[in-house]
């Protein structure tokens, strides 16, 4: 399963990871090799099973949607790469 550089570029775009020409080459080689090896899965007869969605066996666990105070507000704000008046300053989203 060989990926073209264009396909890798598209994947990088979806994954929001910037790549240069050299990296595109390397990733295209690496990813193609792995996908090749993974194609072995096509041999398995999966007609009789459903996808394994649950590992531990627990069914949807819910709790009450009750608001509570957070005691880590200051610590979280301190993590913002750029802060202004307690807000996280980012590039324009519009």
């Amino acid at each position: 399963m060989s990926l073209t550089k264009d396909e890798v570029k598209h994947i990088a775009e979806l994954a929001r990871i910037g790549v240069d020409e050299e990296e595109l080459e390397k990733f295209s080689t690496d990813l193609s090799a792995v996908l090749d090896w993974i194609s072995k899965l096509e041999e398995a007869d999966v007609s009789a099973v459903s996808p394994m969605a649950r590992v531990a066996g627990s069914i949807n666990v819910a709790r009450e949607d009750r608001m509570r105070e957070s005691d880590s507000r200051e610590e979280i704000i301190r993590l913002f790469p750029e802060e202004r008046n307690g807000y996280d300053k980012v590039k324009s989203v519009l």
Binding site: E13, R16, I17, F27, I38, V46, P51, E75, R78, K91
Partner: protein
Amino acid sequence: MIRELHEKLINKEITAQQLAEEYLARIKEKNPQINAYLTITEELALEQARKVDEKINSGQSIGMLEGIPGAIKDNICIRGIRTTAASKILDNYIAPYDATVIERLKEAGSVFLGKTNLDEFAMGSSTENSAYGVTKNPIDLERVSGGSSGGSAATVAADLAPWALGSDTGGSIREPASFCGVVGLKPTYGRVSRHGLLAMASSLDQIGPITKTVEDAAIILSAIAGEDRMDATTAKSAGKDYEKYLTGEVQGLKIGVVREYLEGLEKEMRQSMEKAIEKFKRLGAEIVDVILPYSPYALPAYYIVQPSEVSSNLARFDGIRYGLRVDDEQESGFPADGMPKKLLETYLDSRRYGLGAEVKRRIMLGTYALSAGYYDAYYKRAQKVRALIRQDFEAAFEKVDLIFSPVAPTPAFRIGEKTSDPLKMYLEDIFSVTANIAGVPAIAVPGEEVEFEGKKLPFGFQLSAKWFDEENLLRAAHAYEIGK
């Protein structure tokens, strides 16, 4: 080892502060050589130790873990402490909360010496993918400590902590334990809360102990296991003290051996495994041949499921709310496609410069597998193969109580040996990955050392047990450890 230290504390042979200082001194001396610790939490350790000493001096009785120092893999959050996941993208990240396992260990009175090195975001089998340098194997400095919990395993092996926490998604506790000659336990999926563990693959991750002895692993498990409202995948607490199940007996236990696994090993390694099986026989266990017909598909299925979940879990590292934010002021050459250009560039640049090559590889693999047109062929199919592998285990466990296998094909390899080819590194997990795929608990125990490339090196074997049967798992491992 934990029990002995506990006795020393209650007999007042040593104070908790002296114990912590002893380890901190040894860390300062040895860590520059092996790079096991990324952050040493001296102040925190001494403060925690001081509180325990106060308790002892006031005549109060203390629990088994009180005052006992340990190390924590740096993908587990301790509030107020730098937590990097061995990535540049979190170089300056100070965790604003405690992981549930940390809360429980704090409640148990344990002392934290520091955060240990790992492959970046737990992706790797050698700790060579750390953005902060590899952790060298204390037994042979030219070799890797294994991964991704290499720092934790090396820490315990080099006496830089009596116990450590690791995490295991495809073998990341067990393989480094094997490489460093220590014990590593991956609990059943759902046994231990993942809240506060920087998520890698949510249907595979588990936190577990790395220790010198099986008893120590049991003691740590008892402290951290149990239902957590912050992790909906945790199972109801068993409320067990696992160390109480270590009878030293294996009479009546049936241990399944997958002959195919052993046949694939080189002579020295195969002989080490056969000696371990002989010992179990001598101790009174019944050895039964079992087959796991779909196990050849476990590793490829893992390399679809895991990267897919990784691609989703690592989307949050985008330079927006925390961590590294980069703007290299250059055009990335991607179309903005309806999104404000400058915002897109923030994502592209922050992730480009903050994440390492292996992390990017896996995110992209997962993105591809989950993308439109490929989801059915890859992710859905892999999840079906996963169901087949689980069925294999269910069938095997009708005949046996435990399954024996190697942990990895060889002992610790040399630094740099497998870094040029990602696939070569992935194949390290060939024996360990099935336990994560099926969700069963598994433990790595040091077997007979092997002669490899002219060196005598540790080499572990692995036992897996039925879901939620850590009692029999630990009992058998412990019996092997103390038996003759």
